[in-house]
Symmetry: C2
Subunit: 411 residues, 2 copies
């Protein structure tokens, strides 16, 4: 089936969303979870094919992301069951007004329609995204990477069989066979078929979507996150927070990449930071002033504009909170930034002026996450300002419409 | 100044929005309104230049849109004063949570940043858009059409002087001198500078933005609006509503373009509709079955996919509410549709299944409007589902951020 055929079928399925009750969606999701477990052998066999094809082609870290086992399949099934427990966002009346002319206007939450996801080689994204899109009443087109194709196809086969068994149109969940660059372009330009495109992956994929998408697209994920250690920071807390934000999981988008330090605390703080970030060892790339204090590696031109996703941190000494805010304005990707300070005025200034999805006072940037923010799930973290910002859960996968009831009103 | 210079200045101004209190914004807006009135002579002189240039080039209806007089300038000033009275959306805490680890998470409404508006030859859009963007804390870049350039430039000169007088950065309101096609393209591709692009104008402009924009863009305006007259419709109400929706202002996007009629009521209803739509005279373009009943003009291939914006209406006989819903799904632009029925089951089915910004029961489509919906204003009507749908007021010109306060939390 061509990707155009799939888009047509997905759009047609999305038209049936009005018939999906919460109970029916939850029954389907439970069946989807069970289907993954029941078809574990087939999924693992498909995964073995992907792994065999990828061996010697992909780096080890990517092979690990690609690999499935019984435990990971159980985790995927559990992920779907967790979505069952989340409240259904569809149908909520967001505002209700009775106008002077007697019309009642109800702003009502509805699904977006068809959601396109373009992602790379993690098979678990396939089941996660399918479950979140379905619970929010959307059809989805999951255009995964070539490397995980057989795994994703086996997963989607099981999920579609579960939908069919529940009596739901299986075209709510779709996986194009075509994993070429052209199929990604076809998704990006599917005006009238895709209501929202969400790229999940590296900076190159995101950039390609922003550059080429003609359908509404949500920019996600890239995080050059900053921590500013103000003059009045509590040093022990600051050391713990920077250590956590940098080293607890350096490969994720909410990990800190840049530490800005107030010049009045730099001489006291930086040597301690260097010691703290020796286990695990973090390479500190220092601007001139920081280098004078702790030596090490001098920052190059691009080090303050790089998402390292590694045990590397750029360090810069700034004059005050205003210079910190200005540096962040010039270099941040708008994901998450934190100020460590005991000065309430500076904390307020920072939270008001910094234009990022999440702005922290005295906490690690690592909390920017749908689960941590109480959404129970996450399909991505938006770094744009239109539609949704920060962690996107079920509500962020919906739109609304105005339902207006009258008895003959004219204007 | 090049458009790139303007974008840089607008972005810099938008960074100062955190310093704008509601009171300061309202003072500035009152000064902006007064400045329009005080500079009426200069604005009218500029308008005379535009009119002289456009004479013989633009059709009369466009010349009328372009023409300003004392009364229209007073109306523009009053439009700005009306915005003063609207509540300030910025700073509202949309959700507030205290997490088990002690973090407080406040989802707080913030401006979008820089809003780009690409529009055609109505000078009043210049002051309307500037006021709405400013009240919601945004900087704006108003790229108007060549035909209205001198008028818009005189208006923006007055508005910027008023900002300066109030002590606010005048770069909150910007009008590029360059009105070439290239300047529109520069706006569409200003990634990192424009946070939301709103085209206001004809279908060609909207399509060009959807095709070419690399910045987040909101599709607005085009309305192929349908009215479905169900078997059980109250005939007198139906005649009044269709007449109002078609003829009260045919040139606007919420005017009805298509009338679908249930086959069981068609023979009784259509002759009455034909009579009702004779004053003012509406050309009815009929599908085969409607033509058999009332004759007249046979509908051509494109008549069910055309926004006439004129005294023309396409008419089709359908089997039932399901066929009406299917026809709308295939031909609507997602703006406004109405069902006229006394059957509650069909009304519910229609409102659930029809995927448009506003779905009416027994009322005219003409109510889809920011003022009518109680928003007090409108910068456009979104026909897409991402970010905003239907009439966009001040709240729809905002985003949000998460402000998270802790005392040393790590993950």
């Amino acid at each position: 089936m061509t990707i155009q055929d799939i888009l047509i079928r997905a759009k047609a399925a999305s038209r049936e969303s009005a018939t999906l009750t919460t109970q029916l969606k939850n029954t389907a999701l439970n069946n989807m979870a069970a289907a993954l477990e029941e078809n574990a052998d087939e999924i693992l066999q498909a995964n073995a094919t992907d792994l065999a094809n990828a061996k010697g082609v992909l780096p080890d870290v990517m092979l690990d992301r690609l690999r499935l086992d019984e435990k990971r399949i159980r985790a995927m099934a559990q992920g779907i069951r967790d979505v069952v427990a989340l409240p259904d966002p569809v149908g909520t009346v967001l505002e209700s007004n009775r106008l002077p002319n007697g019309l009642t206007v109800q702003k009502t939450r509805v699904p977006l329609g068809v959601i396109g996801i373009i992602y790379e080689s993690r098979p678990n994204v396939t089941s996660d995204a399918a479950a979140l899109c379905f619970k929010s009443g959307n059809a989805c087109v999951l255009r995964g990477g070539k490397d995980a194709y057989f795994s994703s196809a086996a997963i989607v086969k099981a999920l579609r069989a579960a939908l069919k068994k529940t009596g739901v149109n299986e075209d709510f969940v779709n996986l194009p066979q075509d994993t070429s660059r052209e199929s990604a372009t076809a998704m990006m330009t599917a005006v009238g078929y895709i209501d929202a495109l969400i790229p999940r992956g590296g900076a190159g994929l995101i950039r390609s979507c922003v550059e080429n998408a003609k359908v509404p697209c949500i920019q996600t994920g890239t995080g050059i996150c900053h921590i500013f250690v103000d003059e009045t920071a509590d040093v022990e807390k600051a050391l713990t927070i920077v250590h956590n934000a940098k080293t607890s999981r350096p490969s994720v988008c909410n990990a800190a990449e840049v530490c800005l330090v107030h010049e009045k605390i730099a001489a006291a703080f930086l040597p301690k930071l260097k010691a703290k970030l020796s286990d695990p060892a973090v390479e500190l790339r220092c601007d001139e002033k920081a280098y004078e204090i702790i030596g090490g590696v001098q920052a190059g031109e691009n080090d303050f504009d790089t998402e390292f996703l590694d045990y590397i941190m750029a360090v810069k000494v700034v004059k005050d909170v205003d210079e910190a805010i200005a540096h962040i304005a010039a270099h941040s990707t708008g994901h998450s930034e934190s100020i460590l300070t005991e000065n309430e005025t500076n904390a307020d200034k920072f939270t008001r002026a910094v234009d990022s999805a999440a702005v922290y006072v005295n906490a690690s940037t690592r909390f920017t996450d749908g689960g941590e923010f109480g959404k129970g799930c996450e399909i991505g973290i938006s770094t744009q300002k239109l539609h949704a910002r920060g962690p996107m859960g079920l509500e962020e996968l919906t739109s609304y419409k105005y339902i207006v009831r009258g008895n003959g009103q004219i204007r």
